[in-house]
Amino acid sequence: MAKDKKLIKPLATGDKTIPPEGAKMIPIYIMGREYVVPETLTIMKATEYAGYQYMRGCGCRGGICGACGTFYRFLGDYKLKSGLACQTVVQPNMVIAQLPFFPSNRPSYNLEKLVPAGIKQGMENSPHEELRRLYPEVFKCVGCGTCTRTCPMDIDVMDYIALMKRGDLKGAAIKSFDCVMCGLCASRCPAQISQFTAAMFVRRLYGKYVLPAAEHLKKRVEAVKSGKYLKMLDELAKKSTDELKKLYTEREREPDMTEPGKWMPKDVSHL
């Protein structure tokens, strides 16, 4: 590296925060105790900056695992707010409590035996009946909308609960799809519903029994199970790097825009 140049060395390595001189510091209250932290940090990184080491309440650190559901208020403001600690930026006078775990209701079920194969939505009411049997509390929703206001993923939770009550499992599955299962909705529900576990059940019902099965995949699975590709793959595995390179560079590329399942390569001997 050049020596006499003034180099910028990154101060922060990994996820450790080392504010440069002059960084603006703000007060926050972690479980009521005041700490002064650099602005622009997330709640999670500010908590680490304060000296905590996470064990619970921290997972992907990228907003998808649901480990770090958090409630907060601002000093002097009655409004209760919520978010994910890894996705919410600290602001002055934030009073923070994470909710690393919340007990939820999750009855076991056997997806295979639940609904006779071939049942489609609307033909019989049995998926809906299963929902009623496993999660009777869903039907006691009072419609207060606190779950929707609480959801850090901006899901209209109350709406998908309403769709479940009506038997629109497709609608409920699609509307709840972005759920990270943090459980904040369940923690605030006056009807004691575990919305996110009920939604998981409904999504699997929908995925298995309402979405049509892929026929082309079924055929390919039969071919794989018959051992059709084992010999081909075995021959490939024995090829030299040069032989493989040749096959690689001579590959025919399927065009981006063709009708699904219709395109065929010139050489069909390896299909």
Binding site: M1, A12, P19, G59, R61, T88, V89, L111, V224, Y248
Partner: protein, 561 residues
């Protein structure tokens, strides 16, 4: 939500000032010259963390003795056990089971489900919660040759080419052969695949594929896979017991052969009560995932909090050889600002649409579509060697990725249309990437190598199976998009199945004939450390990363600090 700070806004003016001329040149197809092959080699060897000789050293002990790995990895390979074997009475068993699965991401959960389906009792031990893993963070999709014009044959060729032909061929054969089976399995578990109305899977191209075989569930395929397989495991709690916040810290072998026999369990550590437990099992599946949180050479990472190479450390002490662990996938453009987006991948598509990489003076410094490893080197060089990076308020450094160029080149609204997720992810924090650039730096993305396995998921230690990112060989020295979600499920399932067959074939009979559990391999390893002159070894596995700032550490005045 403030967006960029006033200081950064000031620096942005230089990017804006040079943009019209750069757009003009780009329109005429005049680009910053790509590096020559010789320059590529030089840039890589000087700046790419995989090639640089500094920050790496040869490991002094164990099955890969003499081979070179990053310092952060060697520190752990040469680490001391967390336990003192002499304090432990191995005849007092706390948990007895058929299969012990270590790690509860996609691979571990798949192994548990298949072992259970084969009539076995399973304990899953995991460091954090069930599902806390890199699996949930995989957005792009899962490959599988299910379309009529495709077959495992072509998938095999693609995967080998992507890995620069360094992959272990038998593993690639298993990966590609089983891919349709895995897709079908997920479908039967109720996974919400993206489908056409008639049920046909949506299939797209990915980087390096010759067929459209990328399957998806929205832009959260990994999260959907994880929550579905986890939900299924929760339906089988009578046979599958999950112990959360209980990482394994050592493997247990048995005395069926001198110098370490079969793998026969593990020591678990309760993170909350600080107790250790002894689990005796007839077979063990190691599925602890990758090492992103070691922050090789200080790089940020896309990985989850628990990705600290625990399985590598335990298995290495038990005698399992490592493959390609010196190879790491860095993605050239990870976000470094704002903090909540740090490590977030900024897809290659942003550069594909014409965005350039720009330094603090508003200048281009590289061709924006070099291969990933070369592009990363260019950015590192500009920041660390040239000193032309931009520093964020919390001390990170990066370069501008000038996304507003996309609007200038392809028309207003293109950014929102082509990059909706990224647009929202920045908009949330007050940055409109159709009008302002992003700050980026290479980010540690994937552990290419790991424990050596065969196509049955077997390691070199009988009774020890392994699957997923903790293993090496499937992807060679470079992994294609969509093959990691496939990898964890193919080899998770194979591990579960083969562990079951191994148990059924008769490990049972060998119990009570003087065969005991042992930690002799740990004692032997510590002797080897001493003999090799390893001074002050750290304690491994690491378990949790440590981000405590220095000003806090300086105030920990207690004795044990």
């Amino acid at each position: 939500m403030s967006g960029y700070t006033p200081e950064l806004k000031e620096l942005l003016k230089k990017v804006e000032a040079s943009r019209p001329a750069r757009v003009e040149r780009a329109r005429k197809n005049q680009h910053f010259p790509a590096l020559t092959m010789e320059q590529r080699k030089e840039w890589l060897s000087k700046y790419h963390p995989d090639y640089k000789s500094e920050g790496r050293r040869a490991v002094k002990v164990g099955p890969n003795k003499g081979e070179t790995f990053p310092d952060e990895v060697v520190n752990l390979l040469e680490s001391r056990s967390r336990i003192n074997p002499k304090n432990i009475d191995l005849s007092k068993i706390d948990y007895e089971t058929d299969v012990l699965v270590i790690g509860a991401g996609g691979a571990g959960t798949a192994a548990a489900l298949i072992a259970q389906e084969n009539g076995l009792k399973v304990i899953v031990a995991t460091k954090l919660r069930h599902g806390d893993s890199n699996t949930v963070m995989a957005e792009g999709g899962i490959q599988g040759a299910d379309q009529e014009g495709d077959s495992p044959y072509y998938h095999f060729i693609d995967a080998m080419g992507g890995g620069h032909f360094s992959n272990q061929p038998d593993l690639v054969a298993a990966l590609t052969n089983d891919a349709p089976l895995v897709l079908h399995w997920l479908e039967s578990l109720g996974l919400m695949f993206d489908k056409y109305p008639d049920g046909r899977m949506l299939a797209r191209h990915g980087g390096g594929t010759c067929r459209r075989r990328m399957h998806s569930a929205g832009d959260m395929t990994g999260a959907e896979i994880m929550r579905v397989v986890r939900d299924e495991a929760r339906n089988r709690t009578e046979d599958i017991k999950v112990l959360e916040f209980s990482p394994a810290v050592e493997l247990l072998l048995d005395t069926s052969a001198s110098g370490g026999g079969r793998c026969a369990g593990a020591i678990l550590y309760n993170l909350e009560t600080k107790e250790y437990y002894i689990v005796r099992a007839k077979a063990v599946v190691m599925a602890t995932g990758g090492f992103g949180r070691l922050h090789i050479q200080g790089f940020p990472t896309t990985n989850h909090y628990g990705a600290t190479a625990d399985g590598i450390v335990m298995a290495y002490r038990a005698g399992v050889k490592l493959k390609d662990l010196d190879s790491t996938q860095y993605h050239p453009t990870g976000a470094v600002y704002p903090e909540q987006n740090v490590g977030l991948l900024i897809t290659e598509k942003v550069r594909g649409l014409g965005s350039q990489l720009i330094n603090i003076d508003g200048e281009e410094f590289c061709f924006p579509l070099e291969p990933r490893d070369v592009e990363s080197s260019c950015i590192i060089r500009e920041c660390l060697d040239k000193g032309k990076g931009i520093m964020t308020p919390v001390g990170r450094v990066g370069v501008w990725l000038d996304s507003p160029m996309i609007e200038a080149l392809h028309g207003e609204g293109t950014v929102r249309k082509e990059l909706p997720a990224k647009y929202i992810q920045f908009k949330r924090y007050g940055i409109d990437i159709s009008k302002e650039p992003m700050l980026v730096y290479p980010t540690l993305h994937y552990q290419n190598g790991g424990l050596m396995i065969n196509a049955n998921g077997e390691t070199t230690v009988p009774g020890l199976y392994s699957a997923g990112e903790v293993t090496g060989g499937v992807h060679g020295r470079n992994r294609l998009m969509g093959n990691s979600l496939l990898d964890i499920l193919v080899f998770g399932r194979r591990s579960g199945l083969n562990a079951a067959e191994y148990i059924k074939a008769g490990v049972k009979g060998s119990r009570g004939q003087g065969v005991k559990l042992t930690l002799e391999h740990v004692e032997k390893f510590e002797k080897e450390l001493k003999a090799a002159g390893v001074k002050e070894p750290v304690i491994g596995p690491m378990i949790l990363p440590e981000y405590t700032p220095d000003h806090v550490k300086a105030r920990r005045w207690g004795q044990s600090a």
